[in-house]
Each structure stands twice: as C-alpha cells, then as structure tokens.
Symmetry: C2
Subunit: 144 residues, 2 copies
C-alpha cells in the first residue's frame, strides 16, 4: 500500500534512527560489561561516581536524565554487589546519599579500556563528524 502521508514513513523521521542507533550502541557495550556483571545504565552511574565519589539520588538523576523509579532499584543492586553505599543525609533525612566504595573504585581499572574498544568499531565517522553529532545531540538534550 502506498502511504498517502509521507510524514508517517519511517524513513522520514529523525526519531527512529536515533532510537535504533541508541539501542545498537548501548548493546555494543554488553560484551565488555556483562563479564563484569554490569548493565550499561549501572556503568553510567559508576562513571558519575568515579568522577564525583558521592552524590544524592536526585543529583544522579539530573546528570543522567533518570528518575528515582529507575535509580532506586538499580542503586540497590549496585549496593548489593558492594559497589556503592546508600545512606540518608544527616542534614536532610529526605535525601539518600550514594557513595562509591573501594570495590566500586577498583572496577574503574577494569573499565578504563572499554571506551577505546567501543569507538574502534565505529570508525565510520571522522573525528569532526563525531564532534558535530555530539553537539547536535546536546542541542536536543538541553532544549527547553
């Protein structure tokens, strides 16, 4: 059947390649993360904590664009694995402070070569193009 509404064609939408691409690239981390017992989202959380050491659930959510419904159970799994601690702030009992543990910091050593292995496979874009892509994605992210 011919499509009388060209705007409804999959190939005319920016959203679909973005969605498919995101899943594909996130999936490309699995071979490296699964042996460590990590998911991609857990890896993102750890990257933030490797940089900042300690942070509230809400701050983590602001940085990663995730809410407590996603983060709370994920953080409990990381806690159970021994990579983070969860404790209520003394100053404000509403806030839960997440901190990286010694074991969590040691994971960094096992993860430090992952980015280069990932980007090795996706050399189809030049450095400039990748930079431009990065910039455009942040235009969307920062919007409104």
């Amino acid at each position: 059947m011919a499509q009388e509404y060209p705007q409804l064609l999959l190939n005319n939408q920016l959203c679909f390649p973005l969605y498919a691409c995101s899943r594909k690239i996130v999936g490309s981390y699995t071979p490296f993360l699964k042996p460590l017992g990590l998911t991609y989202t857990q890896y993102l959380v750890l990257m933030v904590l490797w940089e900042h050491e300690s942070m509230s659930v809400g701050q983590l959510g602001n940085i990663l664009y995730l809410d407590a419904g996603t983060l709370t159970p994920l953080l409990k799994r990381l806690e159970k694995a021994g990579y983070v601690t969860r404790e209520r702030s003394k100053d404000d009992e509403r806030i839960t402070i997440i901190s990286i543990t010694e074991a969590g910091n040691q994971l960094k050593e096992q993860c430090k070569d992952i980015p280069s292995k990932i980007s090795a496979g996706s050399s189809a874009l030049t450095r400039e193009e990748a930079g431009e892509l990065y910039r455009m994605l942040y235009v969307f992210l920062k919007e409104e």
Copy 2:
C-alpha cells in the same frame, strides 16, 4: 575526585547523549500516543504496516531492529486491541504473518499530525543540520 581516565568521563562519550536523547525524544511522543492507547514501539510497528499492509514477524524485526522476544508480545497486544491480525503462513508454517486491520488503518488518520507536532518542539536544529544528523545516525545503523 579528579578522574585520571578522561575517556571515562560522561561528557567525553558519544554514547551517553545518544542514549539520553533517544529517551527524551521517544518520551515526547507519549502525550500524543497515550491518548490513543499506543506506545512508541507499537506506533513504529503500525507505521511499517501502514506502508506495507502485511509482513512476517522477521521482516518487521529487520526493519525495526527488534527481535521476536520484543515483537511477539507487542504484536499480541496490538492484535488484542484489534489493530493487527496474526496468522501462520500457508506456504511455511514457521512464519507468522502480521496484517493491518481496518481499525489499524483508521488509526493512521489520528496519527498523521503527530510528526509535525513533535518536530515543532525541536526547532533548535536547522533543516540542514537535521539532515546531517539523520545521515550520521544511519552511518552507525548500517555499520558492519
């Protein structure tokens, strides 16, 4: 804590903005799709069927980069809603043929203005930039 491995900084990775961006844009469809009782992925499936009318589960998966583990339950929900039918091929009983129904085709009328409403909110990129973004995403998608 300073990060001794700059490649592990969130802001140095292309994958994260892609992942966050994808979720944000997919989420922007919700206000339009939820009143119709559809999810974004169901909407993608319907877009393919509005164009092609009838197709196997495997073909749908090839187009949308999704596997039977995702598609089978999703298609059963669309069947239950009356938007598609699922029947085994006469020629090859392994194949399940998905076909759009009358009711499924009528949904097209209610969806035809969604793309313009979505892109209206994301006018931060010029037409040329959007085209360039689209092209780069497909470079990743088609890779290997």
